[in-house]
Each structure stands twice: as C-alpha cells, then as structure tokens.
Amino acid sequence: MPPAVGGGPARSELRPRRGRCGPQTARVVGPDETAKPAARSRKRPGWGSRHFEAAGRWALLALVTLLSFATRFHRLDEPPHVCWDETHFGKMGSYYINRTFFFDVHPPLGKMLIGLAGYLSGYDGTFLFQKPGDKYEHHNYMGMRGFCAFLGSLLVPFAYLIVLELSNSLPAALLTAALLTFDTGCLTLSQYILLDPILMFFIMAAMLSMVKHNSCANRPFSAPWWFWLSLTGINLAGALGVKFVGLFIILQVGWNTISDLWHLFGDLSLSVVTVGKHLTARILCLIVLPLTLYTATYAVHFMVLNKSGPGDGFFSSAFQARLSGNNLHNASIPEHLAYGSVITVKNLRMAIGYLHSHRHLYPEGIGARQQQVTTYLHKDYNNLWIIKKHNTNADPLDPSLPVEFVRHGDIIRLEHKETSRNLHSHYHEAPLTRKHYQVTGYGINGTGDSNDFWRIEVVNRKFGNRIKVLRSRIRLIHLVTGCVLGSSGKVLPKWGWEQLEVTCTPYLKETLNSIWNVEDHINPKLPNISLDVLQPSFPEVLLESHMVMIRGNNGLKPKDNEFTSKPWHWPVNYQGLRFSGINDTDFRVYLLGNPVVWWLNLLSIALYLLLGSIIAVAVQRGAHLPAEVEGILWDTLLRLWAWSLASSSLARGLYVVGNLSLLLGTAYSFYLFHPLAYGMVGPLAQDPRSPMAGLRWLESWDF
C-alpha cells in the first residue's frame, strides 16, 4: 500500500476544487456557460425557468441591499453629538481638510476617506471634535456618517453573494443576509464616523472577489479572471491601508492562493511555463499591486498634510523640515558644531524627544537632590544647550577668539542655556531604571566638577572628524564613570511632569536609545547652509512613519488595574460598549451584538467543527460520502478561516439552511434589541418601564 503521507494530503487538496468548479459552478454561472453545447441543448427546455430564476436572484439581491440600506440609514443623524471614537477619527478627517500634520497608530487610508467624504459633502474642517458628547450644531457631519453607513450597508449584499457563491444555496444566502442585517452590533458600528465600517467593507470585498476569482478557475486568464484577481489585490490594499488588522485577510487570501498554486503545480497536464504564468499573475495582482496602492496612499497622505501640526515631535528632525510652519522648514543653520554653539539634542529612537532640563529638582529619596534632566517631545526653550570646552569657562563667542570646531572624541561640557547648569552624572541610581546612573543638572553658572565632562563620539566615524548637524549620530560618554547618556523611554511620575527618564547607562551596547543627533544649531560666527539637502526621500519617510506607528501601537497597553475586555469576551458577546450617554436623560447608544445572532454563530461553528472532524475521520477510514457534502464541508472550512482570522461578523451559519423560523426569530430579536443601536432616551434598564427591561440577559451588559 502506498504510504498515506504522499497520498492523503494530495487527495484532500483536490476535493475543494471539485466541489467549487465542477457541476456547481456550471449552475452558478448559468447563462455565461458556453463550454458544453451538447449539454446545453439537452437542457434547453429549462431555459425559460432559468432566466426567471436569475431574475429572481437579482430581485432578491436588490431587496437585500435595500433592506440593508434602510436599516443603516434609519435615524443616522441621531445623536447630533460626538459619539465615542468619533472624537478621534472625525478630528483626523478634519486634519486632512485643514492639511495639518498629525500622528496616528493606524495607516492613513481610512481617515483620508473620511476626510474626503467630509470635504465633498461640504464640511469645512472647523469642528474641533474635542470630546464625546460635544454637539455638532451647524457643522455638517452627515456626509462623513453617511459615507461610513454606505460602506457598512454594502456588507450585507457582499455577504449574500459570498454565501451564494460558496454554497450555491439561496436559502443559506438569504439567511446570511438576514443575520447580518439584523445584527445590532454591525448596525451600530456602521452608523458613526469610525474606521471599522471601512475596514469591514474592504475585508468583505476582498473575500467576495477572492471567491468570485476562485469560481473563474476553469477559465484562467480570461477577462473576469483578471478582473476579480486584481480587485482582490485592490481590496487587500484597502484593508491594510485602514488598519493593520487587515493583515489577517491578507493571510487568508495568501493561504488560499498558495493552496491554489500548489494544486496547479501538481496538475501534470499544465506545463511549468503555464504554472509560472499563474504565479506571475498572482505576484503582480496580489503583491505588487496592493503594495503600490498602499504606498500610494502614503504618498497622498504626505502630499496632503504639508503643514506643521500636533504630530511633528514624533518624527525625526529631517522629516520635520518638510512641514511648513515648522521651524526647521526652509531653515538654514550652520553645518558643523563649534564651541559656543547653542543646540538642541534629539534622541534617535523615535518618539523619545529632546534632551531637556528645567528648574525642578529630583524629589527627596530619588538620587541626589539636583536639577532634573529629562527628554521632552515638544519644542521648548528648555531644550537648548550650549557646548563648552571642559577646561575653560571663557565665552567662545567672543569675536576675538577664532572659531573652534568640535571634533569626534573631544571632551566637552554641555551647559543648559536657561539655568546655566551642566549636564552631570554620578554613581547614584537613576529614578526608574535602577541599574543605570542618574543624570542631573549641576553647578552654578557653568562651574561644576569633573562629573560634568562628556566625551562626544560620532558613531562609525574616525577620530578627529567634525560633527555635522542632523546627520552625525553621536554618543555622549561620561568621562568619570564611563557610562553612555541615553533615555530609557520610561515615563517619569508626576514630579517629573510625565516626561521621559534620562539615564547614563553603564552597558555600552549600541542601541538607538543612547544615540542622539543635533537638531537646532545657532552660532552667529558660522555661515548657514540650507537644510533642503537633508530632506529625506520618500522611502525613508515611509519607513520612519511605520517605525513610529509600531512604537505607538506597542505603547497602547492597558495598565494592570484597568478594566479591559479580553479577546474571549468578544465572540460570546460578554459585554458591550457604551457609545454615548450614561444617565437616564441622555440619548444612549450601546454597542452590543444581537445575542441571538452571535450565539447562533458560536453554535454553528462548534457544530461545524464537530461535523467536520467526524467527516474527516470517516473519510480517512475509507467511508464514501456524497460529493456535495464534501464540497460544502470545504467551503465552510474556508469561511471558518475567515471567521477565526478576521474575527468580524463574517461567518454565519450554513448548516441551518432554509430554516425560516430562525429567520423570523432573528427579526424578532432585532426588534427587541434595536433601541440599543438606534439610541434610546428614558429610564435605565433596571427600570421596568424601559424598553430594554428584561432584556439584560447577561449581568455584564450595562446598558
């Protein structure tokens, strides 16, 4: 007997193909089918009913779409105030309209689209979106909400088409559409200015085009084949461009593509060249095209946002020179550092900031009671330092003295301009990172002690070279203890104004935390050069903004003592989210999935897993199953993937095909729970007079 190693997987790869592209596709494709004239002629008597059926399907699709739009657009203008995260995304939309630069942890496409929708609908970007609950008043917010609701409404027809394509069963598709339409969670999410409807739209669209493309597998390189393939790529770019969780749909499409190619590769009737063509087409449409589009969104992002704004400090000095209104824009400063120069020093690690000091001492019990030295993300006079020689206190700016440049390996002293204290370190433990030394400001009017001496070194350069503004990566090494000046990136408590800790680290490992560059540079004795030469290229900007985003994402961790929802809470609909309003007089909106729909979902997934494994074992034991069962099995597997990866409202029950009573039940539960989504005024749920009285099925729902 041939070992099952080789045989088993190969056969299982073949199964989905047969299911999708065999007789079933012929039925779906229907009128387009031209391949088998003989078969067609035999079926000719059925033609009329077929036309009728196709028309019926279109009518149903239209109905589903209409219903979806009706539910999503119903009472869209309520409440007329900022709800939940609208305060972020609405604000960011306004930034695009005002063209001010900002920073966010998500990629720009979603917010750009919101901004565009607002712009087209006549919103002028003047509303501040300060906090949830602010009234919109005369500002036109309906354009942005309408745009999100539009995309949200399209989810339903998409889901309908996907299921129709996969299972080829009309009742199943209708059920899916109904479940999705009547899910209060999706409904609520689609009604506000949020990224989620946009993300879900792209995910669903990618899924749909992938499924459509799969069903074109018997006609490779035809026009629809190309169309759906490239549409998949475009939607992938869209999903990734809205939020990074879009990555998961990419994984799913990737997995589907790989198994597809693997199947083609194993088909010995195809030549290697043909397989190569298939591969190239996939690479072009699913890798090159999305990447290009994704990059293009960033290009637009940087082109639109050309004014200085709240996000400047997160980015490097060279980057800021691009933004008009920033003091580095069109600036000209001396190129080489000289003694007497006034400078600001910026940490190379992103989102750390400038070396900073101020007239506040470290509190008692935390190292020596000397002046604090921190890093600070914003521009401030307290970021200015003067470079002095270690052995004289003479003013190097005295015109009688010649200009003396600072060179790699020199011993220097850094004097804080505002307070005239020297950058100082000593054998005291740093406030937060106990294994490092404390860094303070010390001395009076520049007179300190030998602990104020630092050796300035340029990374990867020879001794004796001059030090360039912005471009030299420098390290400051404390002469007495031999430690390196760095920032740990930890936030100091209240006494340090929540700025970041600066330490002197005895570990000489080269990390970005201990490398700095000189940003502003003022020295009247030196000629200025223009900074334009420093402008970073587009790839550099792209890379940098991704680094900043990743760091920002890592920073979004909840603290220990906070309540957070855990991933296992989501599928069981454990608790909702209060969108707006707390008290009984407020207009309240509460995000909560329709429990009937969600729990049904869980049930069908469990059922699927159970049945799936039973059937898989039976097949492995040699039992013969009807081909259709297998087909459905593998299709559902595909959908299960979607669910587990995207964890959104994708997977809906398939095994409950045609169960109309279920449908009615869903509609009824929607009727019960609809006040949550559309908002309600009046007594809280504990009160029997409330519309939600008795519906608090889980104690954790706090509507």
Binding site: M1, P3, A4, V5, G6, G8, W262, F265, G266, L268, V272, T433, R434, K435, P493, K494, W495, T505, P506, Y507, K559, D560, N561, F563, S565, Y574, Q575, V617, Q620, R621, G622, S700, D702
Partner: protein, 726 residues
C-alpha cells in the same frame, strides 16, 4: 504449558561499544574538575537561593519556571548534605565549606554527559548510518557552550536532556510500532515519551515547545494510523486511547505531581508570602497562619477586620485610613472634599482595622450570639482608630479623576451628607445567602447610593498621602476585576464598648481557634497563576542579548573571573559548529523545498523510504530548532545566549543528517564521495582545534596572559575580561 522450561534461560546483551565509549567521553568532559571553581558562578547565585529555601523548607515563588528543575538541583544538595546556610548574594563569592559543590553540580553534569550518547541513539533510530550518528555525538561532545552550561548548577543541560529523551523515546516507540504494538517495550517507550515531555516542561516552561512538537508528530502518525484500512476500528481506537493516555494524561498528572511534591516540601512561611492570597498564606506553617490560627470564621456585625486587596498589584496592601485629610486643592488645581484620607497601605498597622457595623444599630460590639453578615447585606465600615465611617461621594478621586473619591466622613456642615452605606457582594459565594467568611470570602463593596465599587487604583499618592496607594470608588463597573475584590485577613469579635478600650483591643493580637486548610488543587492553581503573572523586573542586563545575535554567536556571557588571576569562565560556543549547523539548516530547508516541488511534478529524486526518513529527520531536528528558537522573538523577558542552547542541540543533530544526505545522494561518483569524506575529516579537526583553543575559557582552569586573551577575542562583541594590572 510449561513450554518455557524446555528451553534454557538465556540472557543476551547487546553492548554497543560506541555508546559506551561516547558515554565515557561525555562523563569525562563534563565531570572533570567539577567542583572547580569553588565560587558562585553566574546564575548559580539565582538557583542557589531556591535550593537554600528547599533545604530550609521555606515557601518561595519563582516566576522563571515550574518547580521540577529547582527540585532536581535541590536533590543534589540534599544528597550532598547541604543545610542551606549560604548567603547567595554575589557572583564570585567563595563557597563556604558546608556547601557540597560537587554534588550540587553533579546532576546537570550527568544529564549533559548523557546527552552525548543520546544524540548517537537518536540518529540511529532515525535510520541514519553509524557514521552520521557518531558524528552528531562527537559534535555534541566538543561544543564548548554545552560543556560550560552543563558543568555548573544550571538548568539548561537538564532541559536539553529531557528534550532529547522525549524525542529518542518517541522514535523508539514509533519504530517498535511497526513490529510489535502493545508489547512491553512499546508501552515503556510510549510512557517514557510522556514522562520525558512533562519533565522538560517541569524544568522550564520553554520545554513545552518540544512537547508540542512531539505531540504534532505523534498526531500526524496517528492520523496515518486512522487511514490504515488493514486495522480494525477497535484496534485503531485502542491505539488512539493509548497515545492519548501516555501523551496527554501522564504529562498532566506528572506536572501536578511536581507541584504536589513542591508544596509538601516547602511548607513554612517565608519572604515571598506577601504575594500570595491570605488563604494561601494561612496554609503555610508560621507567618500569617500563626496570627490567623485562632480567628473566628464568620464575620459578624461588630467584627474587627483588616481588608486585603485580592489583586495586590503593584504591592499587596490593606485598606487603611489615618488622621490626615485630603488637601483642599490638589497641585493641578482640582478641589477635594477635604475629608479624611482612605488609602491602601502595604504594611501591617493598627490603622488597618475596620469595624463592621449594622446601619440599624448603634453598638460596635458583637452581640451574643453573633449575627453573621451575609451576601447582599448593607453594612457600614467604621475605622477603628478614628471611628469615622467609610464614605464615597461624587467628588473626583485625587489621581483617577474618572472615579469617585473614597474618604472617611468628616461632618463639616457644608451640605454634603454622609453616604456611608455599602452593600456586600460576596464573589465566590456558594449560595445567595452565603456568610462572609474570614480569608476565604472574596467580597466587593458596592456603594448603595452611587453603585460605585471600592477599588485599588494602583497609583501612588503624592507626599500628602505618604506615598500610600490610592483607593477609589469605580463607577463604571465593567465586569469583574480583581482590583475591586477584598478579603478579610485578620479578624476578631469586638468586645469593647468604649473607644479607649477598643483602641487597646485593636492593638492586641487576635486569638481563638478554628483550623482551615486549602485543598491541593486550589493551592496549585493559585501558585501556578501567580508564577505565570509574576513580573520580572529589570529588562536589561549587561550580558543580555537578542535572539538575532545567537545564530551568529555575536554575544557571549562572562560567567566567572578568578579573584586574582585572569582565569575565567565564559559562555562561548564552538564557532565552527555554530556556523556549520546554521548552514546545514539553510541547506536542509532549500533541499527540502526543492524535493517537495519536484515530487509534486512527479519527479522523484529520492527513493520513497529515504524521502520519508529525510522528512522525519527534518521535522524533528529542523522543527526542534525552530520551535525552540522562534518563540523567543515574541518573548518580552530578558534573554541570554544560553536560551539558545536547546535549539542549538537540535541543529547539531541536523548537521550529520544533511552531511550524510549530501554524501549519499549528491556526490554521484566514488571520487567525489572520497573527497567529501576527506573534507569532513578536515572540518572536524578544525572544530576540535577551536574547541581546544577556547578550552581555557570553558573550564576556567588556566590563566591566560592579556595578549592571549586579546587573541581569543575573535569578535568585537565578545566581552572577554582582561585585567589591566597584573
């Protein structure tokens, strides 16, 4: 019947002299001068303290790994007669004469030595030639990093041993599967696989990756078994059940057993008690148990109690109040109620005592018979020393402005009425009429007027609050969080009517007698949970490194330096072996995909059986490397070079596999094959030479001159210690 009497009783023994020789060489290389240096070397300082705890039977909590590894080390100490009296505080400290260094280091050295013949056996079981198997063992033998790590009181070599044992016994099992399923040796190897897996997990959590790998391979094999139509359904079921029992049930039981032994060994209270819950602490001898031993079980109206926060982060603490009031205006300009502060205080103090009062009555003593407080009852909490009532109101808390301030009510006559009624919500109640029990009950205090929940916010108050922890009323009670849950720790029935008497009473220790004990399972769950959530502080170490540095050996760790000479022990790998092992992994991956694609096009370069062998060897060796290496990229703890050693071991096993494959299948002519063999000999001598050159740093027995040390510094990133003045 009695047929066996017709034949003589014969014992035949196969002794593979290769294995004997390898074992001898392994023992020699690992055990040679084992008790040198007689000083604390690197992480011995860390494991040593736990050994001392075991010797003294004191409870401890170590988040770095399950207790089995620690227990094995302690076993060495026990056999050597160690009494636990040594201060483990400094690397390089000289061991006092009561520390049995040799026996403490013996077990890791033995496991390290046995790994050498096991490498040989694994490759033989995988179906490769004796040459390849010898090669793998000889490479293990001269790998400097493995030698260094096994000669000290550290756990990596033990982990590697159990990893290899798991793989080896699984291979033995699956080879005997073909001939004699359900024979004694089949059972033996199957069970041993499970036992070895659980031991690996018990030594360090990372052992779980090898366990998962073995499980995956076993799963694939079981799947093929299901597909084997020549077996009946019943026998397939038996096979599956046997595997499930040995590979799932046995490890779980073993793991519980480790904890059972651990908890019965360390039964005295010690310095780590504080982290555990009151109930757990009360189950230890001494410590809290001594205080709480005589406490009444049921909290009644008039009880005097201390309330401990169950979450206990950032530090374990008790609900506390004192004479000082909140400052009228905070630094940021917000106002307060100016009432008496309520905080959470991490030390025992007379101000931690509260009296449970019935809102309907005036007395603060327990009536006779005591009226117990039940779930859902409304109570008032009176601060013992100041007799003020615990209160919360719609004023923003000092540091968490979204929550309510909690205070002890002071009547200023400013139209701010007292709101001091709290409803008791027993979280772990048996029934809705459950009684509030000392230590055992976890309760939430829900404010009646505002339905805010008493919560530890985790923030430290500024100087005006004496840096104690902030306590707030949380209005948005989103589900359950441990920081809102409290339990009674110390408890007595109040007897004194007058305040002065009561103060005396509060100062006196509690007594009376009720005995309580926690079940083993509850203790196990709590200990395991605390171990997993224990945070290690200090994410940076002088010798820490990132996983990317490991493959190229761009980092090293100075383990020990002789106090006078420059003899030193350094964790450094054999560069030749590391480089060729990484290369072999890359070659294996490339060849594997090449063959796979060709097979898909029905071009079979390899005969079927050698392809299967090649795949299985790759799944176990390359897979073992990947599962022991890749997860480190996702870990946030401080990482060191020695974390790579388990992965390296698997990589070394893969090296001869690839070499033999090249020689058998890619060298087409005899001439090429001879050339290749000659090359291999040269390469192995090269590895031996490197081993010999680095030997002084591995054993630390020879003091080298500064120039010799400088010559050994082949990479700039190796921090070899060079004394400036000699």
């Amino acid at each position: 019947m009695l047929g066996f009497l017709k034949h003589p009783v014969v014992v035949t023994a196969d002794i593979n002299l290769n294995v004997v020789a390898l074992t001898a060489m392994g023992l020699l290389s690992r055990l040679w001068q084992l008790s040198y240096p007689r000083a604390v070397v690197f992480d011995e300082v860390y494991y040593g303290q736990y050994i001392s705890f075991y010797m003294k039977r004191i409870f401890f909590l170590d988040g770095s790994g399950p207790p089995f590894g620690h227990m094995l080390l302690a076993l060495g100490g026990y056999l050597g007669g160690f009494d636990g009296n040594f201060l483990w505080n400094r690397i390089g400290a000289e061991y006092s004469s009561n520390v049995p260094v040799w026996s403490l280091r013996l077990l890791p050295a033995l496991t390290g030595a046995l790994s050498v013949p096991m490498a040989y056996q694994i490759l033989s079981e995988l179906g490769f030639s004796h040459c390849a198997a010898m090669g793998a063992a000889l490479l293990m033998l001269i790998e400097n990093a493995l030698i260094t790590q096994s000669r000290l009181m550290l756990l990596e070599s033990v982990l590697i041993f159990f990893n290899l044992l798991a793989v080896l016994s699984y291979l033995k099992f699956s080879n005997s599967q073909k001939q004699r399923p359900f024979s004694p040796s089949w059972w033996f190897w199957l069970t041993l696989t499970g036992v070895a897996c659980s031991c690996a997990v018990g030594v360090k959590y990372v052992g779980v990756f090898t366990y998962l790998l073995v499980l995956a391979v076993a799963g694939v094999h079981a799947w093929h078994l299901i597909g084997d139509r020549s077996l009946s359904n019943v026998s397939v079921l038996c096979h599956l059940l046997a595997r499930a029992a040995a590979l799932l049930v046995v490890p779980a039981a073993m793991y519980l057993l480790f904890f059972y032994v651990h908890l019965s060994l360390v039964y005295r209270s010690g310095p780590h008690d504080q982290i555990m819950s009151s109930a757990f602490q009360a189950s230890l001898e001494g410590g809290l148990a001594r205080i709480t031993q005589g406490q009444p079980l049921e909290v009644a109206y008039g009880s005097q109690v201390t309330l401990k926060n169950v979450f206990g982060k950032p530090v374990p603490c008790w609900l506390h109040s004192h004479q000082s009031t909140y400052p009228m205006i905070y630094e940021n300009g917000r106002g307060s109620s100016h009432q008496q502060q309520v905080t959470c205080y991490p030390f025992k103090d007379v101000n931690n005592w509260w009296i449970v009062k019935d809102p309907g009555r005036h007395q603060l003593v327990v009536s006779n018979p005591p009226r117990p407080v039940r779930h859902g009852d409304v109570v008032q909490l009176v601060h013992g020393m100041t007799t003020r009532f615990l209160n919360t109101h719609d004023v923003a808390a000092p540091l968490s402005p979204h929550s309510q301030e909690v205070s002890c009510y002071v009547d200023y006559n400013v139209s701010m009425p007292s709101q001091n009624l709290w409803r008791l919500d027993i979280v772990n109640r048996d029934s809705d009429a459950g009684v509030w029990k000392t230590i055992l009950s976890e309760v939430r205090l829900v404010h009646v007027n505002t339905s805010a929940v008493l919560k530890l916010s985790g923030a430290h108050l500024p100087d005006w609050g004496f840096r104690q922890l902030e306590v707030v009323g949380e209005k948005l009670s989103r589900g359950y969080h441990e920081s809102t849950v409290w339990n009674v720790e110390e408890h007595r029935y109040g007897k004194s009517q007058e305040q002065e008497e009561r103060e005396v009473e509060l100062h006196s220790p509690t007594q009376m007698d009720v005995h309580r004990n926690l079940s083993f399972l509850a203790r196990f769950l709590e200990l395991q949970w605390r171990m997993l959530t224990a945070k290690s502080d200090g994410s940076e170490h002088k010798y820490s490194s990132s996983p990317l540095d490991w493959v190229t050996l761009d980092t090293s760790i100075a383990y020990w330096l002789h106090p006078r000479t420059s003899a030193q022990i350094h964790l450094l790998g054999n560069v030749v072996i590391w480089a060729s092992a990484s290369l072999a992994t890359a070659v294996y991956t490339l060849l594997f995909f090449w063959y796979l694609l060709r097979r898909r096009r029905k071009i079979c370069d390899l005969p079927e059986d050698s392809w299967l062998r090649w795949v299985l060897a790759g799944a176990l060796c390359a897979g073992g490397w990947a599962v022991n290496y890749v997860p480190f990229f996702l870990m946030e703890k401080t990482l060191f070079l020695y974390h790579y050693l388990p992965a390296l071991t698997f990589q070394i096993l893969l090296l001869p596999v690839v070499l033999q494959h090249i020689s058998d299948h890619l060298c087409r002519t005899q001439l090429l094959r001879s050339l290749f063999s000659a090359l291999l000999v040269a390469w192995y001598s090269c590895a031996c030479h490197v081993f010999n050159t680095l030997r002084p740093l591995t054993y630390g027995d020879k003091s080298l001159s500064p120039s010799e040390l400088k010559a050994l510094r082949w990479k700039d990133s190796w921090d070899i210690l060079i004394r400036k003045y000699q």
